[in-house]
Symmetry: C2
Subunit: 258 residues, 2 copies
C-alpha cells in the first residue's frame, strides 16, 4: 500500500475516505480543523488531501471557507442503488398520490433501515427520516418489516444487542420484539405508534421476492391522530409493493446488502 509519511501506517486511501466519512455524522459544512479531527489526520495532511478533493469536486468550499460534500461526488453516487430507486420512484409517487401521506422506500443496512427514497408534499407531518438517513430497525415500521422477514438467527442476534429507545414508546423488550416480528410476518405488515417521534405513526409492508424474502419495504408516515386510518392504506401499500417487487428482486440479486 502507498503510505503517507505522516500517518503512522494508514494508507492515503483510508485517510481520503475518513475525510468523507466526517460528513456521515458531522454537520453538512465543516472547517478544515473539524475535518482533520474527525478523520484523525494531521492538519497539513487534511489540508493537502482536501485540496485534491476540492479540485476534483468531491468536496466544495463555501464562501466562508468551510467544506461541504461536492456535487460531483453526489452525481457519481447517484449510481448506487439506482436500479431499485429509479424503478421504484414512480410507484412510490403513485403511493403518495393515492394516500397523500409521506411515502418511504427502505432497505436493511446492518442494524438499521436505510431510507433510499421518500416522497412527501408540503403539508407533511414533521419528518423523522431523510433520504440517505437511517433509523434503528426496531423503531420504525419499515425497519420492523425488514427484520421480520430475516432469518430467525439474525432476529435473535439483533434483539440480543442493546435495543435503544428512540422515544418512550419504542419497543425495547427483546422477547416481546421477537413475538412482534413473528406477528408482523404472519399478517404481512407492521405499524408503529409514536415509537420514532411523538405525534407520528407509521405503517409498512414488505416488498417480497418469489422466495419470500423482503429486500426492501415501503411505508407511510402520518400524524398519530390519523392512526386509525392506517389499515385503510394496506391494500394500496400491498398493490404498490407488488409493482416494485420485480425490480427489488433483480436489485437484491445483483447487489446484496454488504
Amino acid at each position: 500500500m502507498a503510505r503517507d509519511e505522516s500517518g503512522g501506517g494508514r494508507t492515503v486511501t483510508s485517510k481520503v475516505l475518513a475525510l468523507l466519512a466526517a460528513f456521515e455524522h458531522g454537520p453538512s459544512a465543516q472547517s478544515l480543523s473539524e475535518l482533520a479531527a474527525a478523520a484523525d489526520v494531521p492538519l497539513p495532511t487534511a489540508h493537502r488531501l482536501a485540496a485534491e478533493l476540492v479540485a476534483w469536486g468531491a468536496l466544495e468550499r463555501t464562501p466562508e471557507g468551510r467544506y461541504v460534500v461536492g456535487l460531483r461526488l453526489w452525481e457519481v453516487a447517484q449510481h448506487a442503488g439506482r436500479q431499485l430507486r429509479d424503478a421504484a420512484r414512480p410507484y412510490l409517487q403513485d403511493l403518495f398520490s393515492l394516500t397523500q401521506e409521506t411515502a418511504h422506500l427502505a432497505i436493511r443496512e446492518g442494524h438499521e433501515a436505510l431510507y433510499i427514497d421518500r416522497i412527501y408534499g408540503s403539508k407533511r407531518v414533521p419528518r423523522a427520516s431523510r433520504v440517505g438517513g437511517r433509523l434503528p430497525l426496531h423503531a420504525t415500521a419499515v425497519g420492523k418489516v425488514l427484520l421480520a422477514y430475516e432469518d430467525r438467527w439474525l432476529q435473535e442476534a439483533y434483539v440480543a444487542e442493546r435495543l435503544d429507545p428512540v422515544t418512550a414508546r419504542t419497543h425495547v423488550h427483546p422477547q416481546r420484539l421477537l413475538e412482534e416480528l413473528a406477528a408482523i410476518r404472519e399478517r404481512g405488515f407492521a405499524t408503529t405508534y409514536e415509537e420514532v417521534r411523538v405525534g407520528s405513526c407509521s405503517v409498512a409492508v414488505p416488498v417480497l421476492t418469489a422466495d419470500g424474502r423482503a429486500p426492501a419495504s415501503i411505508g407511510l408516515v402520518m400524524a398519530s391522530a390519523q392512526a386509525d386510518q392506517m389499515p385503510r392504506h394496506l391494500p394500496t401499500l400491498r398493490g404498490i409493493a407488488a409493482r416494485i417487487a420485480p425490480s427489488a428482486a433483480r436489485w437484491a440479486g445483483a447487489a446484496p446488502p454488504r
Copy 2:
C-alpha cells in the same frame, strides 16, 4: 503529495478519484479491468485501491464480481446540495400533484443543466433526464432558463463553443440562441419542442433571487402532443418557483456553483 510507486507522479488520491470517476460515464457495474482502464492505472493498483474502497463501502461487489458504487458513498453524498433539494422537494411534489407532469429541479454546472431532483408518476413520458444526470444547457428548457439569467459574457462564451444538436430540432445557431435567451429573460420562461427527445416538450421558469439571479430552475416535461398545454402551467410553475426561491437563495449564497 504521497505518490504511488506505480503511477508516474499521480497522487494516490487522484487515482482513487479516477476510479470513482469511471462510474460517471461508464456502466453502473464494471469489471476491475474496465475500472483500471477508465482510471488509467495499472491493474494491481486498481485491485489494491478498489479493495480499500470496497472495505469502506465506497464500492460494492456484485455476485458476478463486478464493482458498483456503494451505498455508503451514496449516503455521504446525499449531503451535497441537500439544503436545496430537501427544501425544494415538497414544492416540486406539489408541482407534480397540480400538473401530473414530470417535474424537474435543475442547476447550472459548467456547460450543462444538472438535474438535482425529479418527480414523476408511473404514467410519465419516456424520460430524457435522470437525477444526477446532465443535459446541455441549450437543449433543455431548464437549461435555457439557467443560461438566460447568466451574464451576457457567459452566454456569448457558451454559444461561441460548438453547440451540439441532441435531436434534429435542437437550436444550434449561436446568434439565434442568444436572441432566444434574451427573449426568455424578457418573458420569464423557456420552452423546448422535441429538442431533447422526439415526442416530448418542456417548459421551465427561473427560481429567482432578490438580485435577479437564477441559481436554479424548475420545469415540466410532457408529451409533445400536449405542447399547447404548456402556457396553462406557467402560473403554477411561477407560484412554485417563488416558494423555492428563499431556499435557493440561501443555498446559492452558501455554495456557489464551482
